[in-house]
Symmetry: C2
Subunit: 336 residues, 2 copies
DNA sequence: CGCCCTAAGTTTTACGTATAACGTCGGCTC
DNA sequence: GAGCCGACGTTATACGTAAAACTTAGGGCG
């Protein structure tokens, strides 16, 4: 009790219970089936509780050569979506006795360009968003078990991938707008090099090209409201027939588009239909509420973590993209 | 080289450089001033680089008895703000060779109610938001160096506190609205037990009570857009003279209030002035743009981390609240 | 010449845990 | 009664690192 400030070790517990340190380890590690009597085990457990014993993780990790900790690498930018991913991943991790450490990719973190310096913990594996491109080379260098989120299955040599079915989401958006009667489209694309955005562009172009009489222009903007305002305002100001439907890569871009439309005196959805992608809180805060594609971020994180656990246990991760869902709200209507 | 799959240790480096393991540790730990010749040090560094050596964190942590890792405990709810806090904290941490692990407080994480089970890493200290109340008792039990964010300085026995000057922000809001001529106020309060919200209520009531002829009612809502819509709609529908100014504890609540106002046919700011607090991306996405109080989340995280570093080094953390700034936008105007 | 000092290392130890390898003792079988 | 086996432990060791304590060889100095 009056041992001072240092934390009790398994040896202290052993002494208190009148057994050897090994016995403590066996009991607390639940490996005592036929090795220790029930009575002794009970004594050990009580001593541990009384002393407030907690195993030293550093020692355990050293001994076992693994840490039951994984790194989740996300792009610094998008917070709400990846908060959901983290939550899902952390929940599944906790169920399996794992912890999850976050590494938000590049900017803002400063000198430590290296995920593994920043995450002091030693790691058993990594889950990385393909948007966090900067960190990826460093990750590859470590040859750790790796799961990629929303990454080109063909391009992620070796690594397992878990993807949202973004292509289907874009198809749903296109179908919805086409069936409303829209033919002149503007695609407000995220100016970020990532597979997940390439898919949007490819799928939209592909579907629209099948319908005679449609046209689609593209504008690019960084993923921020201000950036989207400028890009949209410019794109809608060019002479010639104006697009009647604006497909945005992302809800934030759509929010910027709203502001641009307002400045130009265009009413949504009467003069311009707008769609987003993500279903952030934003989407229902703006007026009119945004027609968008709901991505289940938590499920995404869960599936990512399950895939990594599978890799760690030598199983092969389950395949299949995660379904997404079009939410039709007030920002889309037939063209006037 | 052809050593197989296991990672090289300092002993491997030693062998490659033709020195002892101790020499490697000295060189790489930068403790070799008068202990090792420059030439040998160079050889060691090269060998380490060639082998791709990385020190085993678990072993180092065990040896040193500290991990250079701190836990940041945040409420699961609010993501954008705490993303900023994390970024600021992580930057400062990285500058000092520390890592930051996130623990989003209660819901969603599942069985592991215990921050220290979830964050597998052993910890040197903790930074905790007072909003993450559920986790606090567990944290206290560990007797780790602790810094509280936005917590009652009087009530956080022993622990250092770092606070935003929320009281000043509320005063600025009140001053602004009073000077516009508003006298009938509604306070849309976050239904979350936390000091940071108590301050808002206290300060607003206090300032308004000094001005004769003012009245203030209070409505409560959970911090979500939908919750705020319902609460605001109810509060604005009661008979009698309607409030002309709505002071919200938070931007999200304000976004909900916008929707409620719209449903009731009230125009902002003509029929109702609205203010928020946080300056989230939301604030400039909605129309009209929200008059709100900018909180510098990154600076908050920075200061929190600096305070914790001070505690860890036995210095006393610097005091003083972090200043905040009123941003007057389009959601406030004189009452009609 | 004898001494100490410094440079340049090496040997050894400890951190706390998990587990393989090793004892001991009573009881049962043949 | 010899042998063996299962129950109940203990002893010893290794994980990789940091650092204290020790070694060795010159060199300078009185």
């Amino acid at each position: 009790m009056a041992r001072g400030s240092t934390r009790p070790t398994s040896r202290d517990v052993a002494q208190a219970a009148g057994v050897s340190q090994a016995a403590v380890s066996l009991v607390l590690g639940d490996k005592w089936r036929g090795r220790v009597s029930e009575a002794t085990a009970q004594r050990v457990r009580e001593a541990a509780r009384d002393l407030g014993y907690r195993p030293n993780l550093a020692a355990r990790n050293l001994r076992l050569g693994r840490t039951r900790t994984v790194l989740l690498v996300v792009p610094a930018l998008t917070t709400e979506f990846f908060a959901g991913v983290y939550t899902g991943a952390a929940r599944v991790a906790a169920e399996h006795g794992f912890g999850v450490v976050l590494y938000p990719s590049p900017e803002g973190i400063g000198p430590a360009r290296d995920p593994f310096a920043s995450a002091q913990a030693a790691l058993d594996g990594v889950i990385a968003s393909s948007m966090a491109a900067d960190a990826l080379t460093a990750i590859r260098g470590e040859a750790l078990p790796l799961v990629m989120l929303d990454s080109d299955p063909a391009g992620s040599l070796g690594a397992a991938t878990v993807n949202l079915d973004i292509a289907d989401g874009v198809r749903q958006v296109a179908e919805h707008l086409l069936s409303l009667g829209h033919r002149r489209f503007l695609h407000l694309a995220a100016d970020v090099p990532s597979w997940t955005f390439e898919v949007r562009a490819r799928e939209l172009a592909s579907r629209l090209s099948e319908v005679p009489g449609t046209s689609v222009r593209t504008a690019r903007a960084p993923i921020s409201i201000e950036g989207a305002v400028a890009a949209t305002e410019a794109a809608l100001s060019v002479p010639g027939p104006r697009p009647t439907a604006l497909v945005c890569d992302d809800d934030k871009l759509a929010a910027g588009a709203y502001k641009a439309a307002r400045r130009l005196g265009l009413r949504i959805p009467d003069d311009l239909s707008v769609t987003g992608l993500d279903d952030l809180a934003l989407a229902t805060a703006i007026d009119p509420e945004l027609t968008t594609v709901r991505l289940d971020a938590e499920l995404f994180g869960e599936r990512g973590m399950r895939a990594l656990l599978a890799v760690l246990e030598g199983r092969s991760p389950e395949g299949g993209d995660i379904p997404v869902q079009l939410l039709v709200r007030g920002s889309t209507a037939p063209p006037r």
